[in-house]
Symmetry: C2
Subunit: 175 residues, 2 copies
Amino acid sequence: MSRTDVNSPEQALDRAAAECPGGGLSVDGVPALPADQHAAWVGFLAAHAGITRLLESGLSSGFGLSVSALDVLARLVGEDGGQIRMSDLAQGGRLSQSRVSRIVDALELRGLVERSSCPSDSRGVFAHITPAGRELAVEALRWQALEVRERFFAALSEDQIAELRVVWSAVLGGL
Amino acid sequence: MSRTDVNSPEQALDRAAAECPGGGLSVDGVPALPADQHAAWVGFLAAHAGITRLLESGLSSGFGLSVSALDVLARLVGEDGGQIRMSDLAQGGRLSQSRVSRIVDALELRGLVERSSCPSDSRGVFAHITPAGRELAVEALRWQALEVRERFFAALSEDQIAELRVVWSAVLGGL
DNA sequence: GAAGATTGAAAACTCAATCTTC
DNA sequence: GAAGATTGAGTTTTCAATCTTC
């Protein structure tokens, strides 16, 4: 593999680091982050941006869903009875309450989800998935999982994947 | 540390995995991703969302900047002469051309950046950073780097950080 | 008064023109 | 006609009310 290949891993990371996507963290030549942290940080941002763009565009063209919308459907599919309260959909940090509300609006319009009021607490609203929603969600999740396996994890060893799990545990503990 | 602590690392990841943020990748109990990949994937998304929210809100309240805007300033600070062409600002994948254009609009309004035409090619436009822009950028970058070190990398060992670099190289090669 | 959910208005982002220069 | 940059229009996301029920 020659040094001029467009997509060699080393080049990808070097290019990313040179362009400092995500906040070039060195100032006046003095790196505000140690070099190894800088490389790890830049790679993290580039990897996230890359895989996200890939999933977003594939889900959109293949299923008419955004990653966020599929997040919501996935939660509903995983739930016993296929229903869950709006506020619980927002828990987990990735989606705000109002965003959930609007995503469910859109899914409801397409007949993929329905709302119903919560018997035990009339403030609450249940979202539950329809058969059509479940069918679409399962297909979209299969595609997404395949993509994640092939484009994200394919190049990693079992050990590296296991280590990632440990790393995220540690990182999430500090956030 | 008891099992009921709100922020233990294990709980954070378990919670994230249970809520499947980012697309619960198991369908009807059959995980579409192997368990270790699933955990690594969910952790990756949760970690990115967490640190991003932290930086976004801190930069906004402390410096009136978005992460994207600081990206642009950082590139300019790092450049010799403090100037770079608009199209080069967009390279690297994280920012589209039109987004760069609008971010520079906003920065220019605040007097942090100026535009000038490129002598050798009149299609081109240089963005260059002003003294005020440099000053703000340096402060913001220092804050951001500190945050990344303390909130993201503090819990990781040197070896883990080194391994992350390798992992991102591999992942970026596949994207 | 606090929690659950929605809504209006503003900000951020993307996509497809558009305009200018090569 | 292609490359560099901007703009208009539409969409998505957020923020701060708002409304209802506890």
